[in-house]
Each structure stands twice: as C-alpha cells, then as structure tokens.
C-alpha cells in the first residue's frame, strides 16, 4: 500500500502569460508507515507536489495513485481514495472556514458520518493534542485568533479525521518553540501508534533530523535528491542548491572541528552533541 506518482508534470495557467511548469516528470513512491520529509527552496514545487496527493491538483500529465487507485476522476473509488489523505495547508487561513473553533474541527468527522458522541470525542482529542483548551476556545471564531493558534486549529481539524495518510505543509511555521516541539513529538506518536503515514514539507533540517526516515529535496520542479536523512545531511552540494542548511548541531560541530577540536560531526541531538564535545575536550586534555 502506498501513494505513487508516476511521471507527474504540472503546469499552472497553461496558455496564459503566467504559464509555469511547477513539476517536471516526478516519479515517487510514498510507502505506507513511512515518514517522508520534502524540502527545497522557495518556489521549488513542494506545495504543488503535495496538493497532488489528495487530488486538489491533478497532473497535467502522469498519474497519482493511492493504494493502487487512480485518484483523478469522479468515480466512487477515486473519491474514497482521495479521502484517505488528510492535508494541512501551508497557510491555515486557507483551510479554516466555520464560525467557531468547535464547528471547524468537527466539520471533517461529521462529514464522515460519525455519531455525534464520536465527533465530540474526536474534536476534544484533536484540540487537546494541539494544546488549544476546548472549553476556552470552542466558541471562538478561528479567524480572531493569533497566527500560531489558527495553525493549531487547522491541524486539529485534519487530525480529527484520523486519515491514513497525513500531509503537512510546513506545519511548524509560526509555532512557538514549545508548540513546535510538542507538535513534532505528537506527529511522531501518531505515526507510531496509529501507523499513520506522514508526508511533511519542512525547511528545518533540525526537525527533519528528529523525524524523517527519508528526505526528498526538490529543485526547480524536479527531485534533486531522495535519500535517508543521515545521508542527505552530508550531501553538501544538494543542500546548498535546495537553499537549506545542515542541521544546527552539525554546523556547530563542523566549526569546532575546523578550529582543531577532534570531534565526530554526525550528531543531530543536543544531548548527544554535548557528549561528543565533552569527550573531545577530555581527550584533548589528556594528551
């Protein structure tokens, strides 16, 4: 079971002055139970790519299948297949539309025909998950919240549908540091406990290091690199072309090494990084 893109090309505004081919012959398999990160510079085609995964955009040429079903078209099979894929947009304002937070988060589960008890249970769960206090916020308008609060509500609305495939377009943008850490931990929990397959657009190599089992770098509508993170983090040219940085830990360790500290730079967590620096300092003292 997987989402597959076969030779997908997408051209916006064909035949107009604004014509732009944003995806060029992309072939990619997103396997069930995997956590794939998609990274790349501004305008490289990430959002265009992920909008193909639930049929918001349809390829100009090529095919997208979800669990083997072509998701183009109006057949019941195609509609059901699209519904397996939940999507959190880059700008949450594009996703929110109900007049209260509660109604907004309940919209998806309600449409799935769940009982009202089950809908309420899911709404409470999902809001708790993103740390929005249900009693305080349920009657608030989602449009009269801060930027980070809106994003949390948008994420809750999609989680409440418990989709098999979850697509998140820069979900940590605009979240405060604690919110970011909690969301990352939460996504990982969903991924493990519900076997949810996750596709994540992110500019943060630090987040990718903590989460992904695979990284796809996009560049000018094409896949530039497709590799496990540990490999991708040391592909210097590709990182540069994709407008990214190495994880902060690697950058710091590299600088120490350049200045003569004998330290192993392949570390992505703060505590591990501290350990390595510590032992390098001790080694240095003893010689």
């Amino acid at each position: 079971m997987s989402i597959e893109l076969k030779n997908v090309t997408y051209t916006y505004m064909r035949g107009t002055a604004f014509e732009r081919t944003a995806l060029k012959d992309i072939t990619l398999t997103l396997k069930e139970n995997s956590l794939t990160a998609i990274a790349g510079h501004t305008g490289s085609g990430k959002s265009t790519l992920v909008q193909h995964l639930n049929g918001l955009l349809h390829p100009t040429s090529g095919v997208v299948t979800v669990d083997g079903t072509d998701i183009a078209g109006k057949s019941k099979e195609a509609v059901d297949a699209r519904r397996k894929v939940g999507m959190v947009f880059q700008y949450p304002e594009h996703q929110l539309f109900e007049e209260t937070v509660e109604k907004d988060v309940a919209f998806g589960p309600k449409n799935m025909g769940l009982s009202s008890d089950e809908v309420t249970r899911r709404v409470k769960n999902a809001l708790g998950f993103v740390n929005i206090d249900y009693d305080n916020y349920k009657d608030r308008s989602p449009f009269q919240m801060s930027g980070g609060q809106m994003r949390r509500v948008a994420i809750a609305g999609v989680l409440a549908m418990e989709p098999k495939y979850l697509v998140l377009d820069e979900p940590t943008a605009g979240l405060d540091p604690r919110g970011r850490d909690e969301l990352i931990a939460g996504i990982m929990r969903f991924h493990r406990e519900h076997n949810m397959t996750i596709i994540l657009v992110s500019h943060s190599m630090d987040d990718i290091a903590l989460m992904a089992d695979r990284v796809v770098f996009m560049h000018d509508g094409r896949v530039l690199l497709d590799a496990p993170p540990t490999e991708a983090f040391f592909a210097k040219d590709a990182i540069k072309e994709a407008g990214l940085n190495q994880p902060r830990t690697v950058t710091l360790l590299n600088k120490l090494k350049e200045h003569g500290l004998d330290v192993d730079v392949a570390s992505f967590k703060v505590d591990d990084t501290v350990k390595r620096i510590m032992s390098a300092i001790k080694r240095r003292k003893s010689c």
């Binding site: 959002s47 919240m145 943008a173 830990t249 501290v274 620096i277």
Partner: protein, 276 residues
C-alpha cells in the same frame, strides 16, 4: 523623548462583550531611533497586537502610543505616522493588494506621493533586495508561500520609512532565504539607521538584534540585550521559548564543569571559548 513611547498600553478585543479578550496589559516600552528590537513570545502572547499599535492599525483601549511625538489616537496624524512606520504583516495575504507584483510594491510609495521615476527605482531595488526581480510582472496571488512573503517585504522596503515593523517575516522561507532577508534588514538598519522591530520565533535571528523583548500573556516580562537574555536557558525554556543552540550547549558544558564564559549566544563565541 524616545522615537516610540508606549505608555501603559492595554488592548482588549471585543471590549464589553461576553467574549472579551485582554491581549495586552499595561505594556510600557521606549524605543529609540536606530534600535533593532527583537520581540519574542509564545503563540497568543500579544506580539502582533502590539505591532499593530505601532502604526495605528489598532488603537489603545488603555494607555497610549506616541510615535515621533504623535499620539496614535490623534486621527490628524494617522498619515504622518504611517509614513514613518512601515509594517510587514504576519500573513502576506493580508498585505498584497495589486494584481501585478511591481504595482503591489509601488502601491505604498505611490500613496506617499513619491515621483514616478523615483518609484521605478525603489521598486526595482526592493525586488532585487528580496531576490524577486524575475517576478516583477507576475501575479502575486499565484506565487508560492515564500515568494509572497518576499513581495510583502519588498513592499515595506520601498516605502523608505524611518521604522520597519516586521511580523514573522521569514516564517515561510528556506534557511538561505531567511538569512538573505535578515541581512537585507540589517543592512538597512546599519546603513540607513532605520529602526527595526522584528517579531520572530527563531532565536538565532533574535540573537542578531541589539535588544530583545519577551512577551508573556500580554505583558513584557524580559527586556534586555541578547547576551543578557539567552544565557538564561532554563528561564527561557520555562516560558515555552528557546535559546540559540550555542547558548544551550555552553550551558550544559558548564554544568559538567567545563570552564566557559557565561554569556555565549553564538557558534563563533562558543568555538572561540573552546578552541582558545
């Protein structure tokens, strides 16, 4: 008198209604000409609300905001205040108005009555600064998230205001783009002496400011220079915020007995201290 004086400012949304929300409570701040102030704080702590008071998009429900001697409540000064304080909104969709990128960037200076050949120059320069020259004739609503953000920044730059308020201007940018934007703002600050108020969730960006203000539940709880703020690792984390990686690593190494200065906030400072 400081360039911007915020005196006991409070802001209540939906005042007097059942769902009223106190977003700012008794905030007092003085910002001098030529400062670079980073504003940090958890989601919902009041950063954007504060920003919108600086060019009279919102008006105080208590206290006052005075910009260059002009009270924002005085409608007669509205125009003068907006000529001095430019603003980049958190969501570029709320800022972009015209149907063509270059018209959008020209909109601000046009409204200020800038002559047309000067406008042309400003538009070209601002688009170049944010790396969007190739998109001058494109339609802004058809741009990617990060591209829109760059256009919104170019629009504010083209106004040549004395003060720029930027509300999470780099949230949607890739790291290289983020560094470019921050550098462009810093150059304006250094060369043109522009006052900058920079809201961000990136601690490394805030470390580049000359002053850091931390908001919590509508109040200012910290106001200090970066070297005073970020070495307080536990305190910042307790507030739901973070510190630059170098500050955290230095703090942890010190706890394990390594002798290091107690005010490290950048990689370079940490490297210099360890590899003496």
């Amino acid at each position: 008198m400081s360039f911007i004086e915020i005196n006991d400012l409070s802001h209540v949304y939906h005042r007097g209604q059942a769902d009223e929300i106190a977003a700012l409570s008794h905030v007092s701040l003085k910002i001098d000409d030529g400062e670079f102030v980073a504003v940090l704080g958890a989601n919902g702590s009041g950063k954007s609300t504060l920003a919108k008071h600086l060019n009279a998009i919102l008006l105080p429900t208590g206290g006052s905001v005075v910009v260059d001697g002009m009270d924002t409540r005085d409608m007669a000064h509205l125009w003068d205040i907006r000529q001095e304080v430019g603003m980049v909104f958190q969501n570029p969709d709320n800022q972009i108005i015209a149907a063509v990128v270059e018209d959008d960037v020209a909109f601000g200076p046009e409204n200020l009555g800038v002559p047309s050949d000067e406008i042309r120059k400003r538009v070209d320069d601002s688009l170049a600064l944010v790396g969007m020259s190739d998109f001058a004739r494109f339609a802004p609503h058809l741009l990617s998230g990060g591209q829109k953000q760059r256009i919104a920044i170019a629009g504010a730059l083209a106004m040549h205001t004395r003060c720029l308020v930027l509300d999470e201007p780099t949230a949607m940018l890739d790291p290289v783009g983020r560094a470019e934007v921050l550098n462009a703002v810093r150059e304006l600050h250094e060369n043109e002496k522009i006052t900058v108020i920079y809201i961000t969730h990136f601690m490394e960006e805030a470390a580049a400011a000359s002053r850091v203000v931390v908001m919590e539940r509508g109040e200012v709880v910290v106001d200090d220079e970066p070297h005073g703020v970020f070495p307080c690792v536990e305190e910042m984390k307790k507030r739901g915020l973070d510190v630059p990686l170098a500050s955290e690593v230095a703090w942890r190494l010190r706890k394990q007995g390594v002798k290091l200065p107690d005010n490290i906030i950048s990689d370079d400072e940490l490297v210099a201290a360890i590899c003496r």
